[in-house]
Amino acid sequence: MNREEIISTTKRFLSEEFEVDPGKIKPENNLQKTLDLDSLDYVDLVVVIEENLSFKPTADDFKSIDTFNDFYDLVEKKLA
């Protein structure tokens, strides 16, 4: 999966799961604020990532994620 495919795939399932406008999911935007995630929502974020990308991020993985760009970097690394 290349970067563009990662962006389009994650935009689809993240906007569906967290019921946000796909247009608000931009590389430079803050992931937590854009998806309006509280501590419980991170549990669901793990579930949708596992269901759609077949890997399970750890709590440490999320520590390095600020923007969606950071998230795409993580996905690229995990799928490599």
Partner: protein, 407 residues
Amino acid sequence: MERRVVITGIGLYSSIGNGKDEVLDSLRNGKSGIIYDKEREDFGYRSKLTGMVEEPNLKPFLSRRERIGMHQPAMYAYMSTKEALEQAKLDADFMNDNETGIIFGNDSTAGAVIDTIDKVRERKDTTLIGSGDIFQNMNCTVNMNLSTIYKLKGINITLSAACASGSHSIGMGYLLIKQGLQERIVCGGAQEINVYAMGSFDGLGAFSIRHDEPTKACRPFDAGRDGLVPSGGAATVIIESLESALERGAPILGEIMGYGFSSNGDHISNPNFDGQYRSLNMALKQSNLDPKVIDYVNAHATSTPVGDSMEAQAIHSVFGSKVPVSSTKSMTGHECWMAGASEIAYSLLMMQNDFIAPNINFENPDEDSKKINIIPEYKEQKIDTFLSNSFGFGGTNSSLIIKKFVK
């Protein structure tokens, strides 16, 4: 200080109607909510009959976070509570600033629990269950969800008392307000209808198998009854101190006069005359009302051979043979954890509109039911005071007396 306790809102989401208007129409016309359910046939139920209540689409009303912890009991209860609060002129902003409690009756979350366990069995990883399931799985699911959505700051407890849960929720709320410990409480009962909820009950052989005539299957007090029909949904009854209701200008639908309760301390499933008799008399004693002023008895009668006979005997012993009696379960089926609350709401609709809803399918009395005055068809009648019975497995009994409000 003992205070007067009134009812300021009711809401219904049931097999005979979504909302009070639809329910009122069904009650007047003796319309049954019972269907033959193919899913029950495929699942292995002995009885394929149920009251049918669709799951509501809550997306227009609630955020994802608010919905994610809801399975059937909470979904249904949200709908009935939304309607009841609107009638009572209450909203989250007011209740955030003015202490309001919630005591809701619920006694199972089978569908939610099994859905969750299926996920773990498939994925073998609890961290892939998701965040909402725990709030669906716990028996206090209705309380957890509604108290956070509506910013409730008062008493917050779930009442599990089998098929008397909804009735006891109102009774316990009544006692707290009467004693001055609360101003207003959201009471009610919820009942899931999915196939997981009632399989073990069906296995006892207590459900009707009159499959060729689903709307005639539930026939409380009739000599030809062959068992109950499970049903569900939710009912909400907002109760409040008279002072609070008057100060807010809320509609006053009735006044709670008495709450009787008892435990049989006997067989786990068989009803017991003495327990029912004590519950009825306790409610009357507390209300300081003569049995003769009761204009209507909404019977618990579920359509089981033994249960209905026992209740007919208890009603006859306390009230004699004249008081009009009907079981709305003849139309709704047995709403179990919800029934005690829904039957207060059904009876209030009758009281407001001067009629007695029919005990449909009552065609031939038996030895016990012939001794009491069962109303088989719609009857115009003024009701000033009614009594509603609820009895449950484990021998828990509850009786509530409601009177038309007089200042």
